[in-house]
């Protein structure tokens, strides 16, 4: 970024003290590939009222980072959490960001926020030092006030320091982060900053944006993926008062000032289609994958390669994200620019995609991300934003595209159906000797060899970029920690099979076969809290235990279930989780995530097929 750009940029953010931060590793945020904003990944502004605004390209979809990012900034800056405002996912105001996915916000963006805030504190200390005529190391900063140590009457507020200033700082001096023992805000349960808006119905989601003259669009959809339209009759839809019908290339849309009238008009559009034959169905999907997957990639290889006469095959079906808020976007074209309010996990990616598909420069597109009503990885692409942008470009009017529940299930980028084949061997001491693991379609996330098998091979098939990657008949993509659910399910199930064969207790068998200390600790913690009583499986006690690793976090779950042996109905009586996730910013928020993941996992296993 040139100095001029930076000044312009700071002006856009407003007066006061602005801190721009670059933290390594820059590549994680993709700036080097992108050119803009090149070196910056966190911005923070302190205005003359002492109010602090954090600008983040991340988005809030329920995961609570709106609050935890503010906690990190408030801690380092020395201001009350309540004085923080967080602006998220606005491509005009926020630093470029690859997207809110991969469990990256807290562990990767968090340090950038803390660095920005610590640097801001340093900048304020320097100003205060000049103003009070006292050396910086004689000053203390707390609650938005800098005072002389031992003489609190000699003080100056952040607001006073920021008043009339246009200071832009780039982190050039390594500001020292506060250490854990001094934390006042990080690590303390914080009520979510978005709570009041969300319990009063005032929180704005993309579908709640209202613009003068806005039209609601409904788009004609094919009856199945790959279908081709052979006829079209829009005459009855056109006959409805106030309806606009758009036909352009493949896009057929009806628009009206009322969404329900647009829906009615769409129901009057007649179209005929030819449908392709389906390559497979629920029953044959695994067989189809195994037959057509092509070559695999070897991810792990040690000792002697296991014979893949698999003794177990694990299958999972496609799984929908099903966020409560379907994909929605509002687009407005004004003064040569298109502004889009979109429910997307990737505002900057959406900006690029819209610009590309509409033949615009990225500077002509602004994406604003209101609150998302859930995402879970499913709002990583933003087809609805492109649709809204195209329609506003064609009609010249603001347009909302809000997918119906049916469209949401149709265009979801499902967590992929997947197959895992495992061939394993245990010696007479109950030690795993061999681990052969082939995973189809789920990828290698959490497919590492957690157990101490001397001979092991892990191969992935149909991974992104490989020949077999396009075997899915519709969009697939990340579903929560992509692939981890599949891989942990398969691996831990196989471990239970091995434990049973070795006549060992499932917990003891796991501990015997892994030297990974963190895995051992979460297993022991979960078992202790659960009240685990050792018995060889299957014990008939209706309980199980498993361990997984994702994004540097270790988690062990123990569950107690009741099974109706006649009907097969399963009732989950309790689940105990032990999770080692490193520095916890908001303990209550972290618990919410753990509870939510357990609940979504139970839904996946017991009720979604």
């Amino acid at each position: 970024m040139t100095p001029l750009d930076r000044r312009t940029f700071c002006k856009l953010l407003g007066g006061g003290i602005v801190v721009l931060v670059t933290t390594k590793p820059v590549d994680l945020f993709g700036q080097q590939r992108r050119g803009y904003p090149e070196d910056l990944n966190a911005y923070l502004r302190i205005d003359e009222n002492g109010h602090v605004t954090l600008f983040s390209g991340k988005i809030e979809m329920g995961q609570g980072v709106h609050t935890s990012l503010a906690q990190m900034a408030a801690e380092e800056l020395g201001v009350p959490l309540e004085s923080m405002t967080v602006v998220m996912g606005d491509t005009d105001l926020c630093p470029w960001d690859a997207g809110t996915w991969g469990s990256l916000t807290t562990r990767m963006f968090g340090p950038a926020v803390r660095a920005a805030a610590a640097e801001a504190r340093l900048a304020l200390m320097n100003e205060a030092s000049k103003k009070l005529g006292v050396a910086r190391d004689q000053l203390v900063a707390e609650n938005g006030v800098i005072a002389v140590a031992g003489d609190p009457s000699r003080k100056v507020t952040y607001g006073e320091l920021a008043k009339g200033k246009q200071i832009a700082r780039v982190v050039d001096e390594k500001a020292v982060l506060r250490s854990a023992k001094d934390f006042k805000i990080i690590g303390k349960p914080a009520k979510r900053l978005d709570a009041r808006e969300k319990v009063t119905g005032r929180a704005k989601y993309a579908g709640d944006i209202r613009l003068p003259g806005m039209l609601y669009a409904r788009i004609l959809r094919p009856p199945m993926h790959g279908a081709t339209r052979t006829s079209l009759d829009v005459s009855k839809a056109k006959a409805i008062d106030g309806v606009t019908v758009i036909e352009k290339d493949d896009l057929v849309a009806v628009l009206h000032a009322k969404p329900d009238v647009a829906a009615k008009a769409l129901s009057l559009v007649k179209a005929e289609w030819t449908k392709p034959a389906a390559a497979f169905d629920n029953e044959t999907v695994a067989e189809y994958f195994l037959k057509n997957a092509g070559e695999g990639d070897v991810k792990v290889s040690r000792g002697k390669a296991p014979e893949m006469e698999a003794d177990e095959t694990y299958r999972v079906g496609y799984v929908a994200h099903a966020p409560m808020e379907p994909h929605t976007a509002v687009a407005e074209s004004k003064d040569g620019r298109i502004t889009i309010w979109a429910s997307t996990q990737s505002p900057f990616g959406t900006r690029s995609r819209v610009a590309k598909e509409l033949g615009l420069d990225e500077k002509q597109v602004r994406v604003i991300t209101p609150f998302l009503g859930g995402g879970f990885g499913g709002k990583s692409a933003a087809q609805q934003a492109v649709e809204a942008a195209r329609l506003t470009q064609i009609t010249g009017k603001p347009v909302m595209v809000a997918w119906t529940r049916g469209e949401e299930f149709f265009y979801d980028t499902f967590g992929p159906a997947a197959v895992v084949k495992i061939a394993s061997a245990v010696d007479d001491q109950g030690k795993i000797t061999s681990w052969g693991y082939d995973v189809y379609a789920a990828g290698d996330r959490a497919a590492e060899v957690l157990y101490d098998a001397p001979n092991a091979r892990v191969r992935t098939f149909m991974s992104r970029g490989s020949a077999g990657a396009n075997l899915h008949p519709f969009g697939t993509g990340p579903w929560r920690a992509p692939g981890a659910a599949t891989n942990v399910f398969a691996r831990e199930s196989q471990v239970d099979v091995m434990a049973a064969a070795a006549k060992a207790d499932p917990l003891e068998f796991r501990l015997r076969n892994t030297s990974d200390e963190r895995a051992r600790r979460v297993l022991k913690a979960a078992a202790e809290a659960f009240g685990w009583k050792a018995a060889p499986g299957p014990s008939g006690q209706g309980r199980g235990i498993a361990v997984g690793i994702d994004s540097g976090t270790y988690c062990a779950l123990a569950a107690e279930v009741a099974v109706d042996k006649k009907t097969g109905a399963i009732r989950v009586k309790r689940v105990v989780a032990a999770q080692d996730m490193g520095l916890v910013i908001n303990p209550d928020g972290a618990k919410m995530q753990m509870e939510g993941c357990i609940t979504m996992g139970l839904g996946y296993v017991l009720s979604e097929e």
């Binding site: 978005d194 808020e325 859930g374």
Partner: protein, 158 residues
């Protein structure tokens, strides 16, 4: 068809002059600009669009404007009075009974209607009554705890 429909909305009389076959959800969200009530499925199965009609939890996406003539409607916007939150809203905040917040309006309105009818519901009764309100983030345990808490604090009075 186009007979103006009168009803009470959050304590105030309103008249809406539109096709009375239209569903209340869309009239609230577009004609009346009350966007707190959410669309989730349009089939009456997810509960996101729940409002109280004469004190009963009602799926507004399945409720025609004509059918509410003369009735008393409360939406999420009607729970707060003079800046003071309803005990259920306080309890949802205290217990963290939401994540993304999209199902929250419907959850609150269903719970509001429940407490009007059963001031002290058992846990099982809460689970049964809230079963038709879907939450994808998995805030269920906290939502139940929040309703129990609000029930204690209000004696059920709404």
């Amino acid at each position: 068809m186009n007979q103006p429909i009168k009803f009470r909305l959050n304590g105030r009389p309103v008249t809406v002059d539109t096709d009375s076959d239209r569903m209340l959800l869309w009239v609230l969200r577009t004609d009346l600009d009350l966007t707190g009530t959410k669309y989730g499925c349009g089939e009456g199965v997810c509960g996101s669009c729940t409002v109280a009609v004469d004190g009963k939890a009602t799926r507004s996406c399945q409720t025609s404007l004509a059918s509410i003539a003369g009735k008393n409607i409360v939406t999420i916007e009607g729970l707060e009075h003079d800046g003071k939150l309803h005990p259920l809203q306080e309890a949802f905040m205290d217990h963290g009974g939401f994540q993304c917040g999209y199902c929250t309006s419907g959850m609150l309105m269903n719970a509001y209607a429940l407490l009007q009818q059963q001031p002290h519901p058992t846990r099982d009764a809460i689970v049964q009554e809230m079963e038709g309100n879907l939450c994808r983030c998995g805030a269920h345990q906290r939502i139940i705890a929040a309703i129990q808490d609000a029930s204690k604090k209000t004696g059920g009075a709404a």
